[in-house]
């Protein structure tokens, strides 16, 4: 790896990625990523609202990893929040005048088609339809299997400047790898 680390960094630079994390994703990590991002984005004077937009994508994507990743490792100190930490990957970059957030995690094979349908549906909606869908879903309450309000992807789609990109890669008989990209 040592001899390839430079190539890996060059690759990240080429893709416009200025922050990348692969490993256990926790709420505490999220707070730290937020602080780093807000600092960097505000420094580059994109304005307070861009920093908040980028941060909100990071929060939604990271909390999806925390709640839904099929890959876990044990916590060194079990807490009220659970005994395991979720594993995933998060990256933040800048390209063609826009910030973007990438995230990825393993998911159980059975969850792929429902998620795929949901995201495909969102991709087809315009801003007005997304707003309407968001409000309806918010009043309704969470879907079966949702650990939150079921609003995360809709919220991201609403805030993004382009339709959400996503991909499912089959890993083996039990798991796939889900990746998504949001552009601010």
């Amino acid at each position: 790896m040592i001899s390839e680390l430079y190539e890996f960094k060059k690759y990240l630079n080429k893709e416009g990625i200025f922050f990348c994390f692969s490993g256990p994703v926790s709420q505490e990590l999220l707070v730290e990523i937020g602080a780093i991002l807000k600092q960097k984005i505000k420094l580059e004077d994109a304005g307070n609202s861009t920093a908040i937009r980028v941060f909100s994508m990071v929060v939604e994507q990271a909390q999806n990893i925390i709640h839904y990743s099929a890959e876990k490792c044990p916590k060194p100190y079990p807490s009220k929040a659970g005994e395991e930490i979720s594993i995933g990957i998060i990256a933040v970059g800048y390209e063609n005048g826009h910030y973007f957030v990438l995230s990825g995690n393993m998911i159980e094979k059975e969850k792929v088609s429902r998620l795929q349908n949901k995201l495909t549906g969102l991709k087809k909606m315009n801003k007005a339809e997304l707003k309407k869908h968001y409000k309806e879903q918010r009043k309704k309450g969470p879907d079966y299997g949702s650990k939150g309000a079921g609003l995360g992807f809709i919220d991201m789609a609403k805030k993004a400047s382009q339709p959400l990109e996503f991909d499912f890669k089959k890993i083996d008989e039990k798991f796939s790898f889900f990746s998504s990209k949001t552009v601010i």
């Binding site: 709420q27 999220l30 707070v31 304005g47 307070n48 609202s49 908040i52 937009r53 941060f55 909100s56 929060v59 939604e60 909390q63 925390i66 009220k80 929040a81 707003k131 409000k135 918010r138 009043k139 309450g141 969470p142 939150g148 309000a149 609003l151 995360g152 809709i154 919220d155 805030k159």
Partner: protein
């Protein structure tokens, strides 16, 4: 009835519910990992408070949240729904949604919530000079 005071943390807001002065304040940021762990006690207090409100008592809610995640959005919807019910019973219930002038997302969310307000008096209050 006792007041509800919860200090802010890095990812949960400060909650200052004053039963004597009938003011409900929520401010800071809200993106806890476990939304019900934080908000269930808040809603329990609110149910008791609103359930015991005299017929013509006015209530003011001051909401000043810089950033909140999508789970919190559902919580806020439920919060406003409870206040709306109280207002529909003939009380004056005011919501002051505060937002920094550079925070257009907070403003957008405020307008969104205001659209659903019927008996609630929902004000958008611009603040400035936040560092």
């Amino acid at each position: 009835m006792e007041n509800l005071i919860i200090e802010a943390t890095k990812y949960t807001p400060s909650v200052k519910f004053d039963a004597a002065h009938h003011t409900l304040g929520i401010s800071g940021e809200s993106y806890p990992e476990n939304i019900s762990e934080f908000y269930d006690p808040v809603f329990d207090w609110l149910k008791r408070y609103l359930g015991g409100l005299p017929e013509h008592q006015s209530v003011t809610a001051n909401i000043d949240i810089i950033y909140f995640n999508s789970n919190t959005s559902k919580v806020l919807t439920d919060f406003f729904r409870m206040l709306e019910k109280s207002a529909a019973q003939g009380r004056q219930v005011v919501v002051n949604w505060c937002y920094d002038k550079e925070n257009d997302i907070a403003l957008e969310h405020g307008k969104d919530f205001r659209e659903d307000a019927v008996a609630l008096e929902f004000n958008l209050v611009q603040t400035s000079g936040r560092t």
